[in-house]
Every structure is written in C-alpha cells, then in structure tokens.
Point group: none
Chain length 330, copies 5
Amino acid sequence: MVRETKRKSQPARRAIRRPQRPPAPVTTRPSLDSLSLDHGKRTRLWRLLYGHGPGNGTLMILPLDQGLEHGPADFFRNPEALDTGFVFRLASEGGYSAIALGVGLAEKHQQDYCGRVPLILKLNGKTNIADDAEAVSTRTASVTDAVKLGADAVGFTLYVGSPNEARGLEDFREVKQDCERFGMPLVLWSYPRGRAIEAKGGKGTLYAQDYAARVAEELGADVVKLHEPQESNERCPEPYKSLKEDAPQRIRRVVRSAGKTLVLFSGGEKQDSDAAVLYKVKLYMDCGATGVMFGRNMWLRQREHALALTRQVHRILGRYGTEATEARSR
Amino acid sequence: MVRETKRKSQPARRAIRRPQRPPAPVTTRPSLDSLSLDHGKRTRLWRLLYGHGPGNGTLMILPLDQGLEHGPADFFRNPEALDTGFVFRLASEGGYSAIALGVGLAEKHQQDYCGRVPLILKLNGKTNIADDAEAVSTRTASVTDAVKLGADAVGFTLYVGSPNEARGLEDFREVKQDCERFGMPLVLWSYPRGRAIEAKGGKGTLYAQDYAARVAEELGADVVKLHEPQESNERCPEPYKSLKEDAPQRIRRVVRSAGKTLVLFSGGEKQDSDAAVLYKVKLYMDCGATGVMFGRNMWLRQREHALALTRQVHRILGRYGTEATEARSR
Amino acid sequence: MVRETKRKSQPARRAIRRPQRPPAPVTTRPSLDSLSLDHGKRTRLWRLLYGHGPGNGTLMILPLDQGLEHGPADFFRNPEALDTGFVFRLASEGGYSAIALGVGLAEKHQQDYCGRVPLILKLNGKTNIADDAEAVSTRTASVTDAVKLGADAVGFTLYVGSPNEARGLEDFREVKQDCERFGMPLVLWSYPRGRAIEAKGGKGTLYAQDYAARVAEELGADVVKLHEPQESNERCPEPYKSLKEDAPQRIRRVVRSAGKTLVLFSGGEKQDSDAAVLYKVKLYMDCGATGVMFGRNMWLRQREHALALTRQVHRILGRYGTEATEARSR
Amino acid sequence: MVRETKRKSQPARRAIRRPQRPPAPVTTRPSLDSLSLDHGKRTRLWRLLYGHGPGNGTLMILPLDQGLEHGPADFFRNPEALDTGFVFRLASEGGYSAIALGVGLAEKHQQDYCGRVPLILKLNGKTNIADDAEAVSTRTASVTDAVKLGADAVGFTLYVGSPNEARGLEDFREVKQDCERFGMPLVLWSYPRGRAIEAKGGKGTLYAQDYAARVAEELGADVVKLHEPQESNERCPEPYKSLKEDAPQRIRRVVRSAGKTLVLFSGGEKQDSDAAVLYKVKLYMDCGATGVMFGRNMWLRQREHALALTRQVHRILGRYGTEATEARSR
Amino acid sequence: MVRETKRKSQPARRAIRRPQRPPAPVTTRPSLDSLSLDHGKRTRLWRLLYGHGPGNGTLMILPLDQGLEHGPADFFRNPEALDTGFVFRLASEGGYSAIALGVGLAEKHQQDYCGRVPLILKLNGKTNIADDAEAVSTRTASVTDAVKLGADAVGFTLYVGSPNEARGLEDFREVKQDCERFGMPLVLWSYPRGRAIEAKGGKGTLYAQDYAARVAEELGADVVKLHEPQESNERCPEPYKSLKEDAPQRIRRVVRSAGKTLVLFSGGEKQDSDAAVLYKVKLYMDCGATGVMFGRNMWLRQREHALALTRQVHRILGRYGTEATEARSR
C-alpha cells in the first residue's frame, strides 16, 4: 500500500554520486496516499499539499516566527514586513501552501485571510537574548488554540541534543497526543542546539541534521523542517567525521533518515541573489524534499520582487509534484 | 460594520407582494464579512462559502442522513446510493459546498475524499421506527469527533416544540459550547416536531417554520436548515392563522426571522421533474436563502443525471453570490 | 484504495433473482485492507479474521450471552454448557475466531484460555423477565474493562426502534468514543425491538433487519450481528410491504445496507439438523456475510458433536475467505 | 476592515527624521474597531478606551505595583500614597482610564471605587531584594480572581531574555488562555531583564525595548507597557549598535514593532518638573502610543498637584484620540 | 500453581561452577503459568510467548530504538534498515515474538503488519548527543497510545543510578499504574547509567547488571532487558569487587536476581561472526534467560543473511521452551 513518488531526473543525480560507495536507494518523497493518517490529518494535509500552494503534493510555506526568535532586527532590511498584514498578503497573493506563525500574530492579523491561506500555528518559541547553550523552546499556545484558530497544522520546535532536550520531549509528547486527538498535522522544527552539539561539530553539520531528521521520524512528526546539512568537521563523531559527501548526497541522506516524514528545508538568512534561492529550491527537490519553508528570502524582498520570486519557486515545484493517487484513479 | 448582499431582482419580487401590507424590508442574506465570528468559524465557513461549491458565498450541500433517519427505504429508487462512496463521488465531482452525514459514514467512506469535499458531521439522529409524537434526536458523535475527522461544520437536529424539546436544548448547549471552544460552525436542523406542533397545524406551516427560524437565531446557530413554509391552516395560532401570504412572502418571512443565521432550504422528497427542483432553488435564493441542502433530489437520480442537475443548480446559485469583501478590496 | 472480495458463485445466485427487477449490484464482503481503521482496530480485527478461526478473513464466533439474556433455561438441553469452561474449551479446541461473553464469565473463566481464544467482551445486557415493549440494554462493563481483560473487540446491543432507543444511542456513543480512543473494534448486536417495530411487522422482517443493518453502518460499528431477514407482512411499511424477494435476495439486501460493516448472522435457536445449520452458513456466506455467530447451535450439542459440526463450518468458511491483500503482495 | 488612526502632526514629525534613511511608514495607533476581539475583550477595552479616562481611545493608567516590586521605599517622598485609598481616590477624581494593582490592594481598597475606576489586576510580581540576573515574576492571582474582582483587564510581567524566560512564557500561556476563555484583555509589562540583556547593552536600550515590543505582539498581548527606548551602546548587537536614531525615531520604531498591540509608555521614576512629564506624554503620543502608565510621577505628588498635572495630561491626550467608529455611526 | 522449567544441560554447566561456593539454586526461567498476572497481561504475554516467535515460551524480540538513541549512524552498515518497513518485514518473515520500537515508527510503518508481528511500544527515549552523566529518558508516548496502536507490551528505559534516577522512577510509576489499569505487560530496559555508576566500575559490570536486574523485580516489571554482565573491576564495590565468577555464573546470578521477571539479554553492537551471535543465544538460554533482544545483529545484516541467522536462533530457542501448562493438561 506504500506508494512513493520517484525522483524525476535520476540519471543526472546519479552522476553526482561517487563511485566508491554503493548506490544509495533511489531518493523518493512520500506521497499523501502512502501515509498512515486519520481522516483529520489527511484532510488538513490535503489542503496544504493539494488545496493550496503548488497543489501538486509539494509545499511552499511562508514562516514568520523570526520576530520572536530573533527580534525585530530581522525586519530591518524590509520594515514593511514588521506589519504582519504585509506577510499575510504575500502568502495569499503568492499562493503559498501555508503561513506559519505564532498565536499573537494569528489572532491579530488573520481575519481577512481566514480560509484563504492555511495556517500553521507555531506552538512554542523563545527569544535569542540568552545564548543557546541550554536552549529550550516554551509553549505559547496549545493544539486546542490551533483548532479554534482554524489552523491546518501546528509547528513545534525541538532543540535536539540540548541539555534541556528532556523538557522539549515532554512538551512534544503532550502536543503530539493532542494532535492525535484532533487529527492535527504536526510540523517539527527539528533543530540541533546547545553546548553538546557545538562540541560535536555544531548544529549545521550532516551529523547534526541527519540525527535531527531521524528524531522527527522516531517521534512521529508528520513534517520536519531541517537545514541543509553542511560538511562534517573534525569535531563530528564517526562515521560522519570521515564521510566525504557532496551537497546532494548529504541532502539525500537526511531525507532518507526522515523516512516517511515529509521534509522541508529552511532558506536561512536572506540571500541577495534570486538565482541562489532558486538553485536551492531545485537542489532540495531533486534530493527528495517535499518543499521549502523560506521566510526572510521572501518577505525581506519588496512586495513585487517577492511575488516574482515566489512565482519562480512555484514553477520549479510544479515539476516535482504528483497528483494524489485517489484523484488519478477517478 | 454590517454589510449585506442585496437581492438582485427586486422589481419582480415586489410585484408578488400584496398591496394591503406595508412593504417588507428588502430581503438580504448575511455576508460572511458581516458576521461576528472567531477565526476558526470564519476559516471553516469560508471554505464552505468560497473555497468549495459555487464559491460565491452561496451553499449547495449534499446531505446523507436519510439512511439513519428513514432507513434504507429511501434508497430503493436508486440502490447505488446505498454505497456512500457513490454519494461522496457525486459531492466531489459535482463540486458541492459540503457533504453532510453521520460519524459512521464519515469514518468509513471519507478517506478518498479528505479535503476534496468539506464535511459537515451530523452529530445526532434517530430512526423513524417509533412515531414522532415525543421525538428526540440523540447524539451519536461529538464536536471533538468532528475536529478529528477534519469537518468544517457540525450538524445538529433540534425537534422544536417536542415534549422532549428540553433534552434537545440541553444537548444543543453542550454542542454549542464545544463549537465555541473549537471555532466550529454549527448548522441547525431546526425541525418543528411532536404532538404539540401537530395540534397547532403541523410541522410544515409558516407558523412552525417561522418559529423554527427564530429559534436558530436565538440559540446561536451559524446556519439553519429549514423547510419551505406552507400555508397556514385552521389549527395554526394567530396571527399566522389569518395571515395570507404567497410562497415568496412566506419564505422571505422565515429568512428574516432567522436574522443573521444563514438559511438553507431542504429539498424534501425526490421530485421527478428537474424543472421543479430548479424552480425551488431560484425561489429560495430570490427570497434570501444562502443556499440549499438537497439530498434525495440528487442522489436518487442516476449519476450522470444527478451531475447534470447539479450543474444547473450551480448556474443558478452563481447568480446570487457576492465575493467576500476582503477579496474585493484587493 | 477500496478492494472488496467478490462472491464466488455468482451464476448460481443470479438464477434465484427474479427477472422483473434490475440486477442488484454484485454482493461483496469488505476486505480488511479496504477499511479505514487505526492500527489498534486493524491489529485486533486481524487477529479475529486471520490469526484465529478459519484464518482467511471470515469469522466464526461463539457467543455466550444467553445466560443473562434468556436465563439458564437456554442450557436445559445441554447442562454441561452451564459451565463456561466447557464453552471456552469448545471455542479453543474448535478453533473459533472469538468467544463473545460478558464481564463475569470472562473474569472467572478466561484464565486458562488467555490468548488462545480471542475475547469479544459483551458490554451491555438485560434479562428477559420484563417484556421487550420498551427494551433497553444496560452497560455492565466498559471498554477499559475490555482492554484490561485483553479483549480483541467489544459487543454492544442496540435495540433499534425501541421507545428507549435514545438511551441506547447515548450509551453507544460513549462506548464508540472509547473504542476510538483505544483502537478497539466494536461489534453491534443491531436488534430491532419494542412495540413500534412490532406494530410495523415485527423484529424479524426484512424491513426491520434492513433498517438495523443500515443503523450499524451509520453509527460506525465495525461488525454487525443480524438475524436472517424474514418475508414482509401486511404490517410492514412500504416499499417493503409489497416487495417480494426470496431468502438470498433478502440477505443480500441487508448485507448491502450494512455497507462497509462486516456482517455476521445469528444462528438463533438450536436446530436439530446439522444439515440445516450448514445450509445456513453456506447461504449467508454466498450472500456476502463475513461470518456467523452461532451459540446454541454449537454448545447445546455434546462436545464431540459440536466439534464435528464446527469442523464442517470451518470447511465451508474456508471456501469464502481471502488472504489479506498485504500478505499476498509479499 | 482595518482602519487606523493617523498621526495628527505628520509634517512636524517628519522633520525630525534623518534624510539618509528611507521614510518609515506613517506611525499610527490601532483603533479598537480595527482589532480582532471577542465581545468580552471589546466590551472591557471599550470601557478603558471610551467609557473612562480621556474617553477618546487613549489611555491614562495609574499603576500601583511599586510597593511589591520595590518595597515601601518608593513611597518615602509622599507617605500618603502608602494608603491605597489615596491612590484610588486620585484615580477616581482624576478620571483615569484604569488603576493597575495587585490582588491584595484590590481586595482591601477597591470597595468605594467599584465601577468608578476600572481595575487592571496585576497577576504576577516579585520583590527586588534578590538581584535581577535570573529574574522571574510569579503569579499571585488568577484571571478568575480578576473576573471575581470585576476587573476590566489583567496585567502580567514577562522578563524578556531572562534565563528564566521559559517559566515566564509558561505562565503567560496559561494566563492568556484564561483571558481568551473569559474575554479578558491582557496588558503585558514586557520587561527585558536578566544577565543576558545586561550583557547586550542593558534593559533600557532600543534593542531591548524593540524586542520587548515585538514579543508582546507575537505572544498576543492586547496592550503592552514599555519604557522609552534609550540610545544604543557598544554592547548592543547589530544592527542596533550602529543605528543612530533620535528619541522620536526610536519610540516610533518600538510602536511599529508592537504591531496591533496598543502601546503604553511607563513614566519611570518621579520627575520633579511637571513640564518634563508633559513633554513625555506629548512625545509618546506623537509617536503612536495609545497612552501612558504613570504612577510615581502622579502619586508621589501631593493630591492637588497630582490632580492638576492629571488634568494637563488629559488635555494632551484629548488631542490624539478618535471616536469609536461604532459610536460615530449612531 | 508455580511450575518452573528446569535447565536442560545441568551437568555441563555444573562443571564450570567452582567448588568453594555453595551450589547455586538450579537456574530456571519462570513459566507464564507461574506468574501472578491479570487476564490482559496474561493474554498479551501469551501472544509473545506462544502465539508468535518460537511459540514455546521463549522470546526472540527485534528492537529498533537505536535511531533515536544513537542516531542514524547505527544504520551506516546496512542503509536498508533506515527504512523501518525493512525491519518490520524482517520481524514478520523471520517469525519474531515481537518488534520493539517508538511511537513514530509504529504509527508510520505498522499498517501492513498489524497483527502479524506483536508490537512492544517503547515509551521513552533520548538522543545521545549530550553525554550520559545525568542521563534521563523522557516519555514520548503513553500506555494509552500503546493500547490504541494494538501493542502487546510497552517498553520503558530506566537509567538506574543516574543522578536523574528519581525522574525515571516517577515516570515508571505512572507507566506501571497505567499498565495495571490496562492489563499491559511492561518490559523494562534496566540500564545502569550516569556518573555514579561510572565511578563504581561502569555500566557493564556484574555489580551494575545484577543491581539492574533486582531493580526490575523490585519495581514490578514483567520482563527485563539486561546486558551480559562483565567481570568486576577495581572500582566496583564489595562484595562484587572480589567476586570471581565466569560468564555463565555471572549470567545466572543476574537471572536469579531478576526473580520472577522474565529476562532478555541484549545483543549489543553488531558482531560479524554468526557463530558468536549463536553462541551468545545458547549461553543466555542455558543460564536461564527467557529470550534475547537482538537488533543490530539482525537488521545490520542483509535480508537473506538476517533471515538465515534468525532461523538458527529459532532452532536454538526451540530447545528451551515449554508448552504452556494449560495446554499440556488437556
């Protein structure tokens, strides 16, 4: 019963793979049909995957949790984005799969966009004033709040490997159990963080991201947001330390570790070049991602520029999707 | 802040109105923008009013609660409809605003239609084996079940005026409070029923339906399903007994009594003539209804016939809607 | 995604059908794979359908709720069966899919059979000392009790159409919600009962059984236990009253009305002829039943006789099953 | 649907703005009409904004939480203020929008002023005996207590950036969820505090206050109390460190960061010059604040002096308000 | 009712025992019949001990919690195992007694194996990014989740002797109480861990494992997973420090300390030699273990190799079991 969508351009990608390693299994992204989901999760994920955004089973999500996580500094390059209405409008006009933000922003700014843009309610957060050595993200809203706001998914940040990991896991369990009770999809921001991961090479390495991907699968997230994995360094544990893989190999590896969890890659800080943004989208999708969650790379551009770039991302994602099998069969 | 959508063909309708009465206020249907709603209800109603169905603020809903309420006898004229998949497929291909049915049918047959057709989960019911003298509808599912199934609204039958009315009202209160807690729209099947209403002229009269409309508004339903009000008879109380109004006047009256509650009219038993069905749709919409909930008139027709009739209803409803104001302003 | 198992001997059965009616859709029984079920229900139903009994997707269930429902009178013809251990041993040695009984019998007699014979814990009941005019079945155990006893399903009697139907529906809703919470399959004893159904022709007619089948589907039972529908009589409502169908047609009709609910037929009172018992098994299975729930016809026979008859039922059921699709595909 | 009140004296303010930066969007304060609020919050906020105080949508709030936060030392300059009755009388006679204090003071001193002066019940606090390196404010009353006391809002202190920020966020979530349940407006004392913010330039800088403003918006406060942001220093992170803005620019920036959250500025320690107090009121209002929360600057003045100063503040605020749209239309 | 199964090859083992010690009591493994268990636990344990796996009262369990506990690094030697479907298939085709894994893997990958392979739901876990000095395992699922997933047991890790032992014990109490409520067997991963055990010789010594075994018995686990106890070292406390026992003596000792708790031994890291794996199985069973829980030694082998090795383990276990007494007595 497990049907998966195969990569489109196998030959090209296979060329990248180094000969000295056995060929990795073909990278695929899980299709909605292939997932074990109750009707509520299936309905809500369908809206993200097929009812909005590219509409072909891929995801293009606009996040706006940076104001809490990083402070208003993140908006300096485009002060318009301080107005959450600006970002909602971008999500609506740009045809995003969903907008992801916290409870205050949703309550205050969603009204004119109710139904037009699916909402992923981010359930926890923190400021970055204190350092991240013992990072913990605290719940600021509940799954019930998400239901009441009409959200189609909830977002949860887990600081994997933090000395406070246990607190994050406890919160996660409660959130997950509520998600099961309400048929609410759960998007995990699976973020290696804290002094232990720093000692083992830092949060961005393949070791860290690969572990984060597997954690999402093990814990039962429906979707995971990851960062593009970087090369290993001397502090990484084996076997990662001596593993030499290029970027596509690394990305495919973490997608495989995520199993049946749909993978989104973060855009990270704003890149001035549109081409660089689009290159990343293509790279991630080629390697099996289900979509991207790009915030600053979008709303730090002027409105028309952001919309134009959004259209180009749409075009790329349009090449990777699948129709839902059910739809096809009718 | 209250904006309402005016009737389109005032002159025609005014001609029907009898001169000896003061002109009734222009019949309007409430717009989504004009309603006091939390974000969850607004989101979910938006999906019914603009995201599916005619998509212009009108509603075309396909109910399938007759199997419980009347037994399989209702399906004899088209045994295909015994298969709930047939009805889901009709709702999906016909582009209905929603399908309305009970928990068993939703759980067992929704899977391939999750997200494609909004679900109104009918929360209570009964068989018609015993007579209706003391009718009471019993809850068979909860608002939490509706959330878990991904429903966009719940349906609730209240037997207005039944000797068991109090039990219905108690259940209604609990359901309504859960609806507020979860931002779930509540569609009231406001049905006069029982020996007292029979003694006062029967469940179908203007007296009965007008009262039922006001009850929905008073209790806080978001949408009310009514039957077309029939002429008064000798057993009806005054002033209804001596009130002489034609069909459009009666319909407009109950729509006005429903206030800011969106009004749907039932199709009742199957009518063999398509023209009769379409005439009713036009009549109800002319008189301020927000839409229709026609079941047997649809799924007792063969599939192609039902789809063709559905398209014609679509065409009529397409003439009455309004774009959401927010949409217009952009 | 809906796969169903087709009848095996269509030509034979089609011959029975009267020419003046359009051919009914082919009677099928739902396969486990085709059902929307959570993992708990799927696991437990798998144990009944494939892990025990005939093991091919059919069911042969041994009920023992007659002691409460009818009193010890039911055991007069074979006093051995007063010892529940006798019945457990029959279920175990006979290779039944499950034994179905109440909390007291399970607690006191299950110990030596834990795991060997799946348990269907019957959750409600009543004596038959008072008459059935306003029949209501009262809960004597909970779904949690069933979990604690290691049961693989719960059984619930609903007196469809009784003046106390509402009480039954309320109890049912709570039981069902617990079943969803625990992944516990729900077997509905869907029994028309009470003075209203008597006035409409009695509990055994096609009208009554057809309605009962649909009620199970509408309410969300996983399995329904019905009685073989009898011919209509003058008191039955139309269209049943004037419907002339032979036994297979009637059985197929109620199986179709049960939709995706697996149908079991009761054996009713003990029949002295083994051939009559086996004829019924074949008839029910030919018409789309998933299995039989025969009690008195088994445990009112002496042990060796009962085991021999059981083996013959096994042999018949063995011709109707399907391997689980998943298994086949590997 | 979002209507906002424009600044009155744009030209004057624009002159202050430095030419080398692009003109910031016009500073506005959110109107009550433009906010997404349930009826309870709207009713209670209306009482603060239009039913009391200047009555034109601005706020003049008299806080008295200093006795807990700083000890009786704060009253040495006017021992009369040790008697909470003195402060209640000042609030009442001075026509304040509300008085803000803790549960003990409210219980003991509110009696003669119930209804006369709206109450903002401060829900948490601490002493300043220990230092603020790991500051956390603890709940001393609940939202239910506030309802019972007839309060029109609750106040909550969050120590943004404290090592104990997580505890504050947890408390905040619970308080906020109760506020939603009861329709109770939530005023956030958004206070950067703790060793991490000290290391990044201190609690008073534009960096700290700007972050605090955004936190209030992100978390869903209805009103936020801030301090006037001071110039950046060498320890502030970029881009604040190299940002050169004058006082109005800084104030406008934090008001914009607060989004749809109404901004109040604190008066801080008592200033001997009335003119200095009034200058601040004008400055804050010019820059988009909804009002001021001045405590020591009022109740550390002798009664007549305080009342006279209050009247002058009234006069200034009177120039900035808007009638509620609803009021206008009647 | 307490019957126990005697060791088979006493003479051989007795030869190893040193003469200067009193003969240890004959090593036995507890039989299911001999245990005080409610019907639910008995039913579920029967399925593990007799309904699946070797089916003779021994256990061969396939664990897959390494992805969370160690990260994807554990799969590098056989990337196929990253696909949990591969491991489920191995468990199913290999005829394991059960598969043991966490909630995410169960939810996402169990569907095709429901009922075919008993599930032990692992309820807690952590990553190994931070070190183990203060190890604590956090709950990621509940016993109710296990019931809903159709699990036949739950698994729980207790870090015996960790500075966070108390947190583990608290969690254990809640889990155990739920297990009693639901008749759910509890498998304890009894793992000495943390800086204190390191100071006392390390987690693998006889001292540590012997203590861990007794802790399982004291706390009321039904089954305990241990590691083969290693020789004492200088840091071990007395009397272990000066105790000289060979491997079988040590193993028998911890089995005896586990009392009526069934003992499973872990396989630890993958061993390249099949013979070494099989030697261990035989050694553990000879010394009274009820079975083995070997993960990496199985799923890090290629599928055919893993199946062949599994068959050999089956053959060994087949020599140690007992039929359930009940079965025998009839």
